[in-house]
Symmetry: C2
Subunit: 336 residues, 2 copies
């Protein structure tokens, strides 16, 4: 096979969404792949990640990562296998992690890839519980919130990619865990699979009442994946000197929402609210994996993912993810 | 004079204000003072403090201090002199600090009072630059924000009691200081007396534009005394890893306002937002005074106060304070 003639499919940003994205904002394109240069490899993606934070990159203007360019492929985390190699360190069939998702094949310098051990865990777990998603939950709980045994924590978006891992890690730390989600199936998942202490549907009940009932003595920690009304409810429920981990704000990714009306409680209750981005904490990866891989292999951690088949399904999966729809549980990935 | 027959005037909460307080929410009453018991003193107040945080205590419901009771005197910080004493440690003419403001005379156990040295500074300074007000500014800058030389800081409510001290301390620390206030006279005070680097009127200009102009490279620290639109503007102006000191929220004390629409920036810029209450930090008083008294005596700190004569003026002064009116600059006190 002449590499120069190999083609790849990729999903591009066709136009910038205004508010909620729709199918027209995406396009599936076919591109010719270049011939391999020394030090480069050809990778066939097995899975790529569909993440809420990508919505922010679809807007113009600077964020912590540059915005996606219109007409260009949507970068995202991916796991694949080397199928042709001109780098001795990455022979054919090596499993690699990359930021070259939303396409089926790609050519890249081997030095931009990270080898993963697919014998220790299923390859796709490196996008979820063992990847940036898991590290996000782990850093938020350990380094930002410093959760302690016996504390009460509320995790919004508890059935989501980061939330489902945060719930489990908080339980393993000996916390009392309250979690919310947007559907009955997700709430059942929180109760039955993740074994949280109290789970509720934020769409069908009042988060303020739920927190009052589940945590009459208040919250030590709120792990915020949603912002919006749940942040307001959590502020009312915080104990003095509580910590709020600002991890995600999915309720406002399509259309920014006003902040909570009760921010004066940050003063009155002496709260600390802290935002973080996982890319600042990649140096914690070895410690993180040292804890997570044994826990996963011992069955103490559940790697929950929803894998949707086919690159062309990615835009629809992404749109549904931002609607907090019922189509997925845990980490959402595309199986290429 | 039979002490049992001595009477005192006091300002009581007549009814709980809904939104902005009005004169009807207050009443001036006369009470008989009890006869002095052993260990007690009779104090004549010279000054008492009129503070924005008192608005919160006029509402029902728990805050960090119990709410004021309807029909009872409004407690607040006061400076006075012992006029009769049954405690050897507090002889007649001792200057004392108390939480027995909003009245002219009171009887209290001496152990509830703190002696102050009126030779070191004017007595009323112990309500302002040397009191809880000054400590609030000092703790916010040092212990919460950890300001460093060369940093750029924005202080809203810069001409207010806490703000005017925060501006000066930040200048003494070698910071570049941007401050806002709600009138031309206050802005002139910020520029000419407090010598901040940039001052603006938040009512007559766009805080976002002002911050962009005055701090094109962004803010390291925002010292928030107001919340509301200035908090939103500051969020847009924060640098990565910036710190926001949540000290006051006067824009929402009468009627709570929605939070900023751009709270996702707390994540994107990895910000830390922290609230505090000065009563948690009283152990810092000796270190604080050790720095402040020499600075005040050396003329490096200006004690700016507005003293209004007459206990019956207190309600009107309080109402004006919450309107951020032009009637006062710096610390607002009543001279009894």
């Amino acid at each position: 096979m002449a590499i120069g003639k190999l083609q790849a499919k990729e999903i591009r940003l066709a136009s910038r969404p205004q508010g909620e994205p729709s199918a027209e904002n995406f396009e599936l394109a076919t591109v010719d792949l270049p011939e391999l240069q020394p030090g480069q490899v050809l990778v066939r993606n097995a899975f790529f990640s569909v993440d809420p934070y990508m919505r922010g990159r679809m807007n113009e203007g600077k964020s912590y990562v540059p915005p996606f360019a219109v007409g260009k492929v949507l970068d995202g985390a991916a796991i694949g296998q080397v199928v042709q190699s001109r780098d001795a360190g990455f022979p054919v069939s090596t499993w690699v992690q990359s930021l070259c998702g939303w396409r089926d094949y790609f050519v890249a310098p081997a030095e931009q890839l990270r080898e993963i051990d697919a014998n220790l865990a299923p390859a796709s777990a490196y996008l979820g519980v063992l990847g940036a998603t898991g590290l996000t939950a782990w850093v938020g709980l350990n380094d930002i919130a410093s959760v302690k045994e016996g504390e009460t924590i509320f995790i919004s978006g508890g059935a989501g990619a980061v939330g489902s891992i945060a719930c489990q890690l908080a339980k393993l730390r000996g916390c009392r865990v309250i979690a919310s989600a947007g559907s009955a199936a997700k709430v059942a998942f929180l109760r039955n699979q993740l074994k949280v202490d109290h789970a509720f549907n934020y769409r069908e009940s009042d988060p303020m009442e739920q927190l009052q009932k589940a945590a009459p003595d208040g919250l030590h920690v709120y792990f915020d994946n949603t912002a919006g009304p749940q942040l307001e409810a959590a502020l009312y429920a915080m104990r003095n000197h509580g910590r709020i981990v600002m991890c995600g704000a999915i309720s406002g990714y399509n259309t920014p929402v006003p902040g909570p009306r009760n921010m004066a409680l940050i003063i009155i209750r002496r709260l600390r609210m802290e935002g973080f981005i996982v890319v600042d904490h990649l140096h914690r990866m070895p410690t993180f994996l040292g804890e997570m891989i044994p826990a996963l292999r011992a069955g103490k951690l559940l790697h929950q993912e929803t894998a949707i088949q086919g690159i062309e399904q990615a835009p629809g999966a992404f749109i549904s993810l931002l609607r907090s729809g019922d189509a997925h549980m845990g980490k959402l990935v595309i199986r290429v």
